[in-house]
Symmetry: C2
């Protein structure tokens, strides 16, 4: 869409990967245009050319040193689990459906919080990843249960059988959030203790973590940039 | 799915029509089975046979005189309009997208409330409808603006550019809710006054109402039954 607009090839840098089936609420992309086009026109033209499943919410002029990925200082990802026998059809593309058992949400939250801080996350990195270092810092990592659904439910707000994992960190390795979630679910099933999360980190082996959770439940929520860098 | 379960043809009565593209949160259906199967088994077997876009939430034994449609005493429908230039891709199948102008929500609510009471609704009935009488009673009919979205948005609850029409009535004619919404939108655009809704009713002519709003924004929210009838 940008190349059409600029009438020449434009390369686009996205802030972060979203694998097939993963959703993004606040993806950021940077690019340079040869033509002088105002930001409102860029936004409208992109939305006219992009499929409706991708919408540009805002366009802004930034310093030429700005790069959507390298200038980012932190990201927030969210993962949603539907933990009840009957899956709401409206939620189907947006959750991991675990019909049973009832997951131990408090234990999962305890386990999630073990990961806060600066660690080597190679145990939660997919094979084939090419990143030079697996050290990352998580500022927060927590699980909460139940969610008030005001959007399409009947009369009043109702509580829905959702578990949400939200993580805020400096950066994320390939499949890192999904591998963490797969491991947290094993804690929720009572197959691991919350404290075992630190053992998994120390082993630095993908084999020690749980399975990679399905893509559908994952959302890139937002990307942060330090103002002085812009 | 019921016929498979009962090993013979089973006829199913639904509480209300939902045209193609319309959603249902609380549809009700009644049927009789020849075989003696407990309700939990019926629910599980139906969900195993139905496509995942249709889920049976509950199954209950009722009096043999119960009929999902004829025993119903009232229904609630909801219609959602996205009133901003950029449509959230996640909402695309669930709203009518009206990018501009900014609709006058207060005028639409005023117009909607004019319809409360018992009226001949033939002006809001599609051609080709076969119902003998167009008299219906609306217990409530209102429009509200903005909706708190807690479900997939970033950190805190955010207000989204939604207008919601909700109507509770004894029954609804073919395309009645969508025709009402089409007319309310003309009020929201300033092309009709709220008071003109009563004129439309009195004319008893489909030509006097607004266009039929698209199916995607409509939800059958719930169906009510009087306890003594069950």
């Amino acid at each position: 869409a940008l190349s059409t607009l600029d009438k020449q090839p434009v390369s686009v840098a996205g802030a972060g990967r979203t694998d097939a089936g993963v959703h993004a609420l606040g993806q950021v992309a940077s690019f340079s245009l040869a033509r002088d086009i105002d930001v409102d026109t860029v936004r409208r033209a992109l939305n006219a050319h992009l499929p409706p499943s991708v919408r540009v919410v805002d366009v802004a002029v930034v310093d030429s040193r700005f790069h959507a990925r390298f200038s980012s200082v932190s990201k927030i990802y969210r993962y949603r689990i539907w933990n009840a026998e009957v899956l709401n059809p409206f939620e189907r593309p947006y959750v991991w459906h675990i019909p049973s058992p009832r997951l131990d949400c408090a234990a999962m939250d305890d386990a999630a919080q073990q990961l806060v801080g600066t660690h080597e996350f190679s145990s939660f990195q997919s094979a084939g990843a090419t990143t030079s270092t697996a050290e990352r810092t998580l500022y927060s990592s927590l699980v909460w249960c139940g969610e008030v659904d005001l959007s399409r439910s009947s009369a009043g707000p109702t509580s829905v059988p959702l578990l949400t994992y939200e993580v805020h960190g400096t950066g994320f390795l390939k499949h890192m959030v999904r591998s963490i979630v797969g491991t947290l679910v094993e804690v929720g099933r009572g197959r691991r203790t919350p404290a075992s999360m630190l053992d998994v980190l120390q082993k630095r082996s993908r084999a020690c973590a749980g399975e990679t959770a399905p893509a559908a439940g994952l959302f890139l929520v937002s990307v942060s940039y330090e103002s002085p860098d812009l």
